[in-house]
């Protein structure tokens, strides 16, 4: 996600709903994707997205540009998503929801990456689904922020409110679980 320009944030701070909608348009795919992958459930991801933007709107007037908007948005998103995970543990139905949403929205997936055609997309989807769903939510959040969102360790630490060594140990455990999982599936 690109960072949001300062003047747009200032317009939204002044109560301009159009400016806030533009912020939503720039950040909502990131918020929804992180929420979907952390919670593994479409309804939960929608609710998290809604909560995140209501929180952002509510505290926007106190935003003082000390950190970047992007870092702030990641922090609110990942914490809201993890709280949703703690409240609701319905992994199995969630995984079905995840399949459905990936299938139905495959066309709108950001294709600036190298995903070119349907088979590759299916393969990527299957890998995500299987590998991420078996991690615990904290490990999942770390690996999503690192690999999908491309955050540095320091940014992950800030987003999750943990120290860098905890980021390291969660990434290490997440990756060990993922390669073990790949090994047990025989590829």
């Amino acid at each position: 996600m690109e960072d949001i320009p300062r003047d747009l944030i200032e317009q939204a701070q002044a109560g301009d709903i159009g400016a806030f909608e533009r912020i939503y348009k720039a950040a909502s795919a990131m918020v929804y994707s992180v929420a979907l992958r952390v919670t593994n459930s479409r309804p939960d991801a929608e609710e998290v997205t809604q909560d995140v933007f209501i929180k952002i709107h509510r505290s926007l007037k106190d935003f003082e540009f000390r950190s970047s908007f992007k870092t702030w948005a990641y922090r609110i998103t990942v914490n809201t998503a993890l709280n949703a995970c703690r409240k609701i543990s319905r992994q199995e139905t969630g995984r079905q929801d995840f399949d459905t949403v990936i299938d139905s929205q495959a066309a709108s997936v950001d294709t600036r990456g190298q995903i070119g055609h349907a088979e590759e997309l299916d393969r990527a989807k299957a890998e995500l689904d299987l590998r991420l769903a078996r991690l615990n939510p904290d490990q999942r959040a770390c690996i999503i922020l690192r690999e999908i969102e491309g955050l540095k360790y320091e940014e992950i630490a800030k987003a999750l409110g943990i120290n860098i060594n905890t980021v390291r140990s969660r990434l290490k455990r997440a990756r060990l679980a993922m390669i073990e999982d790949a090994g047990s599936r025989g590829d």
Binding site: G18, S28, Y32, V101, I102, G113, I179
Partner: protein, 166 residues
Amino acid sequence: MDCKKAQDLILTDYIDQEASFSVQESVRAHLASCEKCRAFEQEVRAHASEDLRNAGHIEPPAEVWNRIRDAIGQEQRPSGVPAYVDHMFDFLRESFFARRPAYAFATAFTVMLAAIAVWGLPMRRQMLARDYLVQKTSFMIALNSPANGETDAAADFNTAIEEYLF
């Protein structure tokens, strides 16, 4: 560097390019001489790193923004203003969205009711309420701006009674 240390770094700082140049170099030197760790590196890249990088972003369904916008509208009601003012505005907003001329009566009637309701309040709350009504109205005008992507098709006369009345 032993294999355990090398593999710890492969799982974290090495693969994520967080290690210092000298640490990266020592891992590379170890990999050059250790087939087992080279295989391990390939495995990590294939199943726990590079395979995730093309996952991309997914847009939320359009109704998510509508719910956020509604919730924000609700939150902007100051504590001095009674809740029924909001309910009237909800009704008003629906009339706006429906954009059917027959609702113009209902809309005008609601505005009148809101004005009367506000009239009955003590002075301080009247001021609050007046500011709030102004805010709410501009908020709804913003919702109805063309930026919302609505077409004017909804404004066409759709029923016999509307055609008769207007």
